[in-house]
């Protein structure tokens, strides 16, 4: 487990100097952002995916899905979907804005022109920006470093992402919990799906990988993966 998966802020090495794949894993940890046991919102996001997994698994066994004896219905799904959506939205949109600025307005008359942000252009520079946003959205706002980020653009954008990425995923799951708590408990029967089985765990895992991790696949491809494959002959 690395620092980004546990969100505890301790750093073992300068991320900027790690090999591309190592840096990529650090980011992947944040993209997944559902490590149970991590500080902060790890559990909350896990819980959101759990709700989605329960819903799909419930359907697969032919029963209206229930979680801890409460039926999961349209309103819970709406909230869970929104929170699951928020995560790639913040990180990808943030990185997209930065990428756009570098590509199209490199010499904008801001306090620091976009072209001056990057010490390492190309794939590595992309990784730096992706990490910056990912950490703001899903971690502690730490940097991959190597990015000229102490300027208005980065401070403002990551600040905004930090606030949204921090508090909305807390409100959402609490709202779901509130809705579920107000529901009647369905007594367990032979047809009830148990959520503490290996199979169910596997489903949740697969869902997190496909929904959270794979959403970032194109971004990872341009950043760490491109850098990695360029290094490996």
């Amino acid at each position: 487990m690395s620092t980004t998966s546990t969100s505890n802020g301790s750093v073992n090495a300068m991320h900027d100097s790690m090999t591309p794949l190592t840096g990529g894993i650090l980011m992947l940890d944040m993209f997944i952002n559902a490590f149970y046991g991590g500080v902060g919102v790890g559990f909350l996001n896990y819980y959101v995916f759990l709700i989605i997994a329960v819903f799909i698994a419930g359907l697969m066994v032919g029963r209206t899905p229930e979680f801890l004896g409460r039926k999961v219905e349209a309103r819970e799904m709406k909230i869970a979907t929104m929170i699951a959506l928020l995560h790639p939205f913040l990180i990808l949109v943030g990185t997209a804005i930065a990428g756009y600025a570098v590509a199209h307005t490199p010499t904008a008359a801001w306090d620091a022109a976009p072209q001056s942000w990057l010490n390492n252009p190309g794939a590595h520079g992309f990784s730096e920006m992706l990490y910056e946003n990912a950490s703001a959205g899903a971690n502690n706002g730490s940097g991959f470093e190597g990015l000229g980020d102490n300027n208005f653009f980065w401070n403002f954008m990551t600040g905004l992402i930090l606030i949204l990425g921090r508090f909305l995923p807390i409100i959402g799951p609490l709202a779901i919990a509130g809705l579920l708590a107000a529901k009647k408990v369905v007594p367990e029967g032979g047809g009830t799906l148990r959520a503490d089985t290996f199979t169910f765990g596997g489903l949740t895992f697969a869902l997190i990988i496909i929904l959270a991790a794979l959403s970032f696949f194109p971004a990872l491809a341009i950043g760490p993966l491109a850098e990695y494959f360029a290094l490996v002959p």
Binding site: M60, R63, L85, H104, G122, G190, A206, A226
Partner: protein, 677 residues
């Protein structure tokens, strides 16, 4: 029941569905399905791009031919999805219309304004029409008697055998379609137009005009819309990423990536699955009033089943006469036979049969009045002209009757009743002028194979409850023998209602089947109420399904259909999402291969070229929809093997399969597509 199961796609239905596939391209209809609506937008954009590259001659977006092919593939994807919905609708409609035709063939003798009569089909009767029914005629449709009086056999409707008198004027003037005139002649005015029947409602439901998404379908649509948005973000943000990496990505590639990633498979098949759920119910001869009811049936926890006809073979047979002490045996048998002579119920007939021809031959009902069974008195019998009143019924009813006038209930009869009940029989106590004269023993026969069905239900997690008018002893015996989990003995409609409410308060969903007006409140209270077609209008209005076969075991099938419906949705969603893994690996390397050659390493399928990779993924995405239509229509097979085992099985087939199949499929298509590059 299995009338048209020979082919999934009869020709005329396919033709109709093909036409509908194009009609359904209307964006206003498409908007109901957010996933496919976004595909439609993508298709329109591709059309514009194709025209632009054709007219403008600008090749920066790829060749005109390539763009045109992508446009066509997207259009085909849309048409496939529409076809899935249309074919499901066509099947449902065909099934419903054939049922309707069957029921409308009762002939009716229409009275013309000039007084002459003309025979027409029952279906041609309109509100306000007047028809005539005589002895032996079946009444073609619901109406009100405006002239005359007749005795009518309503057993087909009420299940009660004693004929009822219906006459013009007053409360007893209405007649129901499907009942039979036993004697005399009535003139009836039609009270309702055809088109308001359950079948008509069902057809409207299938046709989509009044089809509403079920709660579960709504939740799934939200989830799918969420997935669509996630992938929209992925694709939109890819543009600045690509700009940064100096990689030009064509609009065709963006739209292809987007369409492949969003869950089009389940999105395209979602409504077909819902419709086919209703259709499968219809094939089992169950008419549902809403798709929601079928879905709820899959969730049912408690099943209330009537004993008679469901658990035991409908007819109980009289097996012995037990006169009370001091009552002459022959006289007792004579009284029993007299009270049953005009009793058309199987029980009544079997009593006459047991009494034997020697006794019954000399009996006459001259001047006698028949006393029909009612749910309140729970007795039936006959008032002979000579001031003799014979009644028979359940022990508690007769005890009340005799003790009301100060007679004691003979202890010997009481003991006999207990003995019969303990042995699973049904005692029928007989009284003459409110004095108990003995009892008749009736025996129940439990249906073969029924206990296996209950075992199956238990594995599904459904609790079975037997409802019976029998006394607790008999009920317990039969309940144990048949293997039901619980029973309600000496059940009154109020008891049923109370039981349903109790279970519902504990959060369980209850299904029940009923036929009489008495059952109406309970049918309405139950989460799934199946009324028998032979039942009263009130019962049919109260329930949310009607069983045309009047088969009480149908509830079990309905539960399975409901479960199948949910499972089909779940498995196809899983399959659709799992497919994304392969599609990512097909398209993402293709996007960047040109400008970042290093990323060619991600092309683990070794697809021929960027164009062929994108085309293959889009083609796979399109053809998987029609390939899965049969599964959507037939439903995933349900096996009662416990929830965790089902999940494991379905995850293996549709989850793991969903990851692997597109890798193979896209690679194979790519091998074919590569021939053109």
């Amino acid at each position: 029941m299995e009338s048209s199961s020979s082919s999934l796609f009869p020709r005329e239905q396919v033709r109709e569905a093909l036409v509908q596939s194009f009609v359904k391209l209307d964006p206003r209809i498409m908007l109901r399905n957010p996933v496919m609506f976004t595909v439609e937008i993508g298709t329109v954009v591709m059309l514009l791009v194709t025209l632009y590259s054709l007219i403008g001659g600008d090749a920066s977006q790829g060749s005109t031919g390539y763009n045109a092919v992508i446009f066509l593939l997207l259009l085909i994807t849309l048409l496939f999805a529409n076809f899935a919905e249309a074919i499901a609708e066509a099947r449902g409609k065909a099934q419903a219309s054939s049922l309707r035709k069957m029921r409308e063939d009762t002939p009716a003798r229409l009275r013309m304004p000039d007084g002459s009569t003309k025979t027409i089909r029952g279906s041609e009767l309109r509100k306000g029409d007047v028809f005539i029914c005589e002895t032996g005629d079946t009444i073609p449709t619901d109406g009100e008697i405006i002239e005359g009086l007749a005795s009518i056999d309503e057993s087909a409707i009420t299940g009660e055998s004693a004929p009822v008198i219906r006459e013009a004027g007053g409360d007893r003037s209405s007649v129901t379609g499907g009942t039979r005139v036993l004697s005399d002649r009535v003139v009836v005015m039609v009270t309702g137009d055809p088109g308001s029947s359950f079948l008509d409602r069902m057809i409207a439901l299938v046709e989509g005009a009044s089809r509403q998404k079920t709660p579960n379908e709504i939740a799934l649509t939200i989830l799918l819309a969420g997935f669509t948005l996630v992938f929209l973000i992925v694709c939109v943000t890819l543009k600045p990423f690509a700009d940064y990496a100096n990689t030009p990505i064509t609009i065709a590639a963006f739209i292809s990536l987007f369409v492949c990633l969003i869950p089009t498979t389940i999105g395209g098949l979602l409504s077909a699955i819902g419709i086919s759920g209703m259709d499968r119910a219809l094939r089992a001869n169950v008419i549902t009033k809403s798709g929601r009811a079928v879905e709820t049936a899959g969730d049912v926890d408690v099943l209330l089943l009537d004993k008679t006809g469901t658990i035991t073979i409908g007819n109980r047979k009289a097996t012995a006469f037990h006169p009370a002490p001091g009552v002459d045996r022959a006289t007792f048998i004579r009284s029993c036979a007299l009270s049953s002579l005009s009793d058309e119920t199987p029980e009544g007939k079997s009593i006459v049969e047991l009494a034997g021809a020697d006794i019954t031959r000399g009996l006459s009902l001259q001047g006698a009045a028949l006393i029909a069974f009612t749910a309140q008195t729970r007795t039936s019998g006959v008032d002979l002209g000579a001031g003799i009143r014979i009644r028979k019924g359940a022990q508690d009813a007769l005890r009340k009757l005799s003790e009301q006038v100060g007679n004691t209930f003979p202890q010997e009869v009481d003991a006999e009743v207990k003995r019969i009940a303990q042995n699973g029989g049904t005692p029928l106590v007989v009284a003459e002028n409110e004095k108990v004269i003995g009892c008749i023993e009736l025996q129940d026969i439990i249906k073969p194979g029924i206990s296996e069905r209950f075992e199956r239900l238990r594995k599904m997690g459904v609790k079975t409850v037997m409802v019976t008018g029998d006394n607790p002893l008999t009920a317990k015996f039969i309940a144990e023998k048949a293997g039901v989990d619980d029973f309600i003995a000496e059940a009154t409609p109020e008891d049923k209602m109370a039981y349903i409410k109790k279970e519902q308060q504990q959060g369980r969903l209850v299904a029940m089947m009923g036929d009489g007006t008495n059952d109406a409140p309970a049918l309405a209270q139950a989460d799934v109420g199946v009324a028998m077609n032979s039942g009263t209008q009130a019962a049919k209005e109260a329930g949310n399904m009607v069983d045309l076969d009047n088969d009480p075991t149908k509830l079990i099938e309905v539960v399975e259909i409901g479960k199948q419906l949910l499972m089909t949705r779940g498995t196809l969603t899983t399959f659709s999402i799992a497919n994304d893994v392969a599609k990512y690996f097909a398209i993402v390397p293709a996007l960047f291969m040109a400008s970042i050659p290093a990323l060619g390493a991600l092309n683990i399928m070794r697809l021929h070229s960027a164009e062929s990779a994108i085309l293959s993924a889009v083609i796979f995405n399109a053809i998987i929809i029609p390939l899965l239509i049969p599964l959507a229509l037939k439903g995933v097979t349900y096996r009662p093997i416990g929830a965790s085992a089902i999940l494991r099985r379905n995850l293996l087939i549709y989850g793991l399969g969903g990851v692997i199949v597109p890798f193979i499929g896209i690679k194979l298509i790519d091998l074919g597509v590569a021939l053109f590059f």
